[in-house]
């Protein structure tokens, strides 16, 4: 479990895997779900990409990641 304080919003978030892993994977730069899956060792794994995409949407909803065009 990871506790994250988001300074811009003043909100605290409790993150369970794989949310912290996804944030860590984004340290290497912006990426889509497929690229993040690769970074986490799930290359060519469609099911993993679907799960990561769902988690990304959740992180975006929480304001912890920004979705670009």
């Amino acid at each position: 479990m990871t506790i994250l304080y988001h300074r811009p919003s003043g909100m605290t978030h409790v993150l369970l895997p794989p949310a912290p892993n996804i944030l860590a994977a984004l340290d290497a730069g912006p990426a889509d779900a497929a690229r993040i899956a690769e970074r986490l060792g799930f290359a060519a794994d469609d099911e993993a990409v679907d799960v990561i995409a769902a988690r990304l949407a959740e992180l975006a909803q929480s304001g912890l990641v920004a979705i670009e065009d």
Binding site: N21, A28, G63
Partner: protein, 146 residues
């Protein structure tokens, strides 16, 4: 750099699993780390702000914050842009009411706004930061109510 290099280099949080675990075990362990698509993994603890239902439902969020400049529009990502910018929308003619925002958070459109416009306004609202007009209102809306 490709994904395999990331993995073998151990850069990722679980990059060393494959090396540590017996054959056939690592994929399961990795799969457990991922969980199911429907399993929520982010729980937000809201600050202790105004908590009565009355104050929550009476507050408003100006879109955009008047401090950011008059006549600005909102683009699809919730950014405040110059009027007439491509892929941007006119702001609502009045501040958005808490109840409207609450409904929009559940997928509804704002009055007089279409789907894309409503999502743009919500994107702006989600980006609000402490000190910006409407921030406290939005935070209050996200708190569980009795």
């Amino acid at each position: 750099m490709n994904g395999m290099a990331d993995q073998q280099g151990g850069d990722g949080p679980h990059g060393h699993d494959a090396a540590d675990a017996p054959a056939g075990f690592a994929p399961t362990r990795r799969r457990l780390m991922l969980g199911a698509a429907a399993a929520s993994t982010v729980v937000t603890i809201r600050p202790a702000l105004a908590s009565t239902a009355g104050s929550v439902m009476n507050c408003q969020v100006p879109v955009p914050d008047p401090k950011l400049g008059a006549g600005k529009w909102i683009d699809g990502q919730g950014r405040v842009v110059d009027a007439g910018s491509p892929n941007a929308f006119r702001p609502p003619y009045r501040p958005l009411k808490a109840e409207e925002i609450r409904r929009a958070m559940q997928g509804a459109n704002f009055p007089g706004a279409d789907y894309e416009q409503s999502r743009a306004y919500m994107a702006y609202i989600r980006k609000l930061q402490n000190g910006m007009s409407g921030f406290t209102c939005y935070q209050s809306l996200q708190m569980p109510r009795p």
